[in-house]
């Protein structure tokens, strides 16, 4: 029991510290990839992108790997610096410095299948589809409760600890998608994509409320009254209870879990639907505005659901004695608390929105990238330019508030086989976030590599965010 408790506390501690370790301000933003139309995966960020290729096939399992780690408010170095200061001192500093608006995120995507082709009947129509796996986690910094765990309540008499500080979601899912991109006229390209989500697991604890307070009561029955007021707390999970069961079954646990995960990845778990829409609009010959909304959808969690809930209020001022005089029977604090707060485990189904992402850009292109022989506009095609500058905005809905970012970019087609894009992203926390994307094209094979915060590569520990993306496609 002790070992289990210690292990749990240790694991929890390591996870929290791990979340502290890096920071991100725009979790799923792929600032390099957005509107970089020579890479097919740009269609996943804006189904209405102005693409020029006639077909594409992603190399299975290698067409897109994306990972983004981060913590807003702190860095690995802030916590783990080998600078002679005591570890407790550094942790204390972070505890004081961070707020309940800070958070840690981990996002990872792996494309398993990707394909697309231009319609033979209507060359202005391009179809694309595929399958990818996604892991998305966000945990806000539960400042009040960590403070309560780290310092106790002794120095916080009459101060409330908010339960709303607990806000976290984690999900692992596969996404099946199919969409189209259509050049509607000389100015407008529109695209939409339907998505089918197949959840492997989901866990969320959001919109919690209530306060824990120790009130000084000079005129009361005892020194203090400890109050849990208006508690409304829940942890919803789906797909986890059965995995835990599999884990506890020590014989053959790993193969059972693997087969369960595969089954769920292949539409055998909780399902959901969603949609992406987007457009590109040529304001003028050399000016393009784009916009997209992705992952507008929800998942219904009906299978393998296990929710933990507590709601109500409770006040404790110690045990009254002697019972013989009070006429009350013996009290059990924990039983009373459990009853008052209606602590319960339920199997009630729930639905949850996917984190919707909104993106937009304004781009100015220059330096015509042909020998002037192309009568592109008359042909209904777009003129190619080798250079472009512009501005991009990003916003992603999150449990507490949306994450936002704004980037300036310069992109260039350097040669027939190499294009690059440099982004400078502005946010509240970093003035030095420069990202780079390189896309190469050799013998019908497209390879791209993108990363951000390149200035921090000298010592990654000091960065607060890091995103990496790469993949291979065949573009005949």
């Amino acid at each position: 029991m002790l070992k289990t408790t210690q292990r749990c506390v240790r694991i929890l501690g390591c996870v929290l510290l791990g979340l502290w370790s890096v920071m991100v301000t725009h979790a799923q933003q792929k600032e390099g990839m957005y509107d970089f139309t020579s890479i097919p995966q740009s269609l996943l960020l804006n189904p209405g992108a102005e693409i020029n290729f006639n077909s594409h096939y992603g190399v299975p399992f290698l067409s897109q790997f994306h990972a983004n780690l981060g913590f807003k408010g702190s860095s690995v170095y802030d916590i783990f610096a080998d600078d002679g200061r005591s570890f407790n001192a550094k942790v204390e500093q972070q505890l004081n410095q961070l707020t309940d608006r800070d958070y840690g995120t981990i996002t990872q995507q792996l494309e398993l299948l990707s394909f697309g082709w231009r319609s033979t009947r209507n060359p202005k129509l391009y179809f694309s589809g595929g399958l990818y796996q996604e892991l998305d986690m966000i945990a806000y910094f539960p400042k009040d409760l960590l403070l309560l765990a780290y310092e106790g309540n002794q120095n916080f008499i009459n101060k409330s600890f908010k339960l709303s500080d607990i806000s976290a979601t984690a999900e692992l899912l596969t996404v099946y998608h199919f969409g189209y991109t259509k050049q509607l006229n000389k100015k407008l390209t529109f695209g939409a994509r339907a998505k089918l989500y197949s959840s492997i697991f989901n866990s969320r604890s959001t919109r919690n409320s209530g306060r824990l307070t120790t009130i000084d009561t000079p005129n009361g029955n005892n020194f203090y009254t400890h109050i849990a007021s208006n508690i409304d707390f829940s942890v919803k999970t789906s797909g986890i209870a059965s995995l835990e069961e599999d884990l506890s079954n020590e014989e053959d646990a790993s193969s059972t879990i693997t087969s369960t995960i595969f089954k769920r990845a292949l539409l055998g778990g909780n399902l959901g639907v969603g949609v992406d829409v987007g457009f590109s609009y040529r304001i003028k010959e050399q000016w393009v505005a784009t916009g997209s909304m992705t992952d507008f959808g929800l998942i219904a969690y009906t299978k393998d659901v296990q929710n933990y809930t507590a709601s109500g209020s409770y006040a404790y001022e110690g045990f009254e004695t002697p019972e013989a005089l009070t006429g009350r029977s013996a009290r059990d604090f924990l039983d009373e608390l459990e009853e008052a707060l209606d602590v319960d485990t339920t199997q009630t189904a729930y639905t949850a929105m996917r984190p919707v992402k909104l993106q937009g850009s304004l781009k100015y292109m220059f330096n015509r990238d042909d020998n002037g022989s192309c009568n592109c506009v008359l042909d209904g095609n777009y003129t190619l330019y080798s250079d472009a500058v512009g501005i991009q905005v990003f916003s992603q809905f999150r449990p507490k508030r949306s994450q936002r970012a704004i980037s300036l970019f310069y992109q260039k087609r350097i040669s027939n086989f190499l294009s690059a894009k440099i982004n400078y992203t502005i946010n509240d926390f970093s003035a030095t976030n420069i990202g780079i994307l390189l896309s190469a094209y050799f013998y019908k094979i497209n390879f791209y590599l993108s990363t951000n915060n390149i200035l921090s590569y000298g010592n990654l520990a000091k960065t607060r965010e890091l995103a990496v993306q790469f993949g291979f496609n065949i573009i005949p």
């Binding site: 029991m1 002790l2 408790t5 210690q6 506390v9 240790r10 501690g13 510290l17 690995v76 170095y77 783990f80 610096a81 080998d82 600078d83 005591s86 570890f87 407790n88 309560l148 765990a149 780290y150 310092e151 106790g152 309540n153 002794q154 120095n155 008499i157 120790t214 029955n221 005892n222 020194f223 203090y224 009254t225 400890h226 404790y316 001022e317 110690g318 045990f319 009254e320 004695t321 002697p322 019972e323 013989a324 005089l325 013996a330 059990d332 350097i414 040669s415 190499l418 690059a420 780079i436 390189l438 190469a440 590599l449 990363t451 390149i454 590569y457 000298g458 010592n459 990654l460 520990a461």
Partner: protein, 202 residues
């Protein structure tokens, strides 16, 4: 400028540019490192919260105690109010291993013109006393019309006591007043709290 143009065209810098960029990309990937950090510091982290939590409380009127007594004599040799509460907090493994000290604070407000003893002791599941019994002598009050006389006492349970009390499941307490006159009036108010000093090492 002409030299630069010449270099650009003749030496073929333009054709080398992709390789230079890829080289740069490779270089930053290779150079990428994490330094000046020590993750083993997690082992040094010690959590030392202090929790200040109410313990027991009582408000006892001496007249209630007297009327409960069957003895009809004018002077009662002894009046006792006993009580046993469930208290299994110290039985928890986490508590036994990570609480370094418990400071119990008792505060009595007495208006009875008589001093008395407050006694408490922890019991195991078989109602057998564990470790020592604690007695607090409470000062006599100055009567119901005067301000109550306050007796305050801290009892420190150290590591040895906490370990000894790890099988505690109950707490028994008693208020014992000796030689009580039947016309004695006033009351006793008891407030108490416990400071739990935790030391948890990762």
């Amino acid at each position: 400028m002409n030299i630069l143009k010449l270099l650009w065209r003749k030496v073929g810098i333009q054709s080398m540019l992709p390789y230079v960029l890829f080289g740069f990309c490779l270089a930053i990937s290779v150079c990428a490192c994490v330094k000046d950090v020590d993750f083993d510091q997690v082992d040094d982290l010690i959590l030392t919260p202090v929790y200040d939590i109410d313990f027991i409380y009582a408000a006892v009127d001496i007249e209630t105690l007297i009327t409960q007594n069957d003895d009809s004599s004018t002077i009662l040799p002894e009046v006792i109010a006993n009580d046993t509460l469930d208290y299994d907090f110290l039985e928890n493994d986490f508590v036994t291993d990570n609480i370094v000290q418990v400071t119990l604070t008792f505060e009595f407000e007495n208006t009875i013109e008589k001093g008395f003893d407050f006694n408490f002791q922890f019991l195991n599941s078989e109602n057998q006393p564990i470790d020592q019994s604690y007695t607090i002598p409470v000062l006599p009050g100055a009567g119901v019309d005067a301000l109550p006389v306050v007796t305050r006492r801290d009892i420190i349970l150290d590591r040895a006591a906490i370990v000894a009390l790890s099988t505690a499941e109950k707490l028994t307490s008693s208020i014992r007043v000796e030689e009580v006159s039947r016309d004695l009036t006033g009351n006793i108010i008891l407030k108490s709290k416990a400071l739990y000093f935790v030391s948890y090492q990762f």
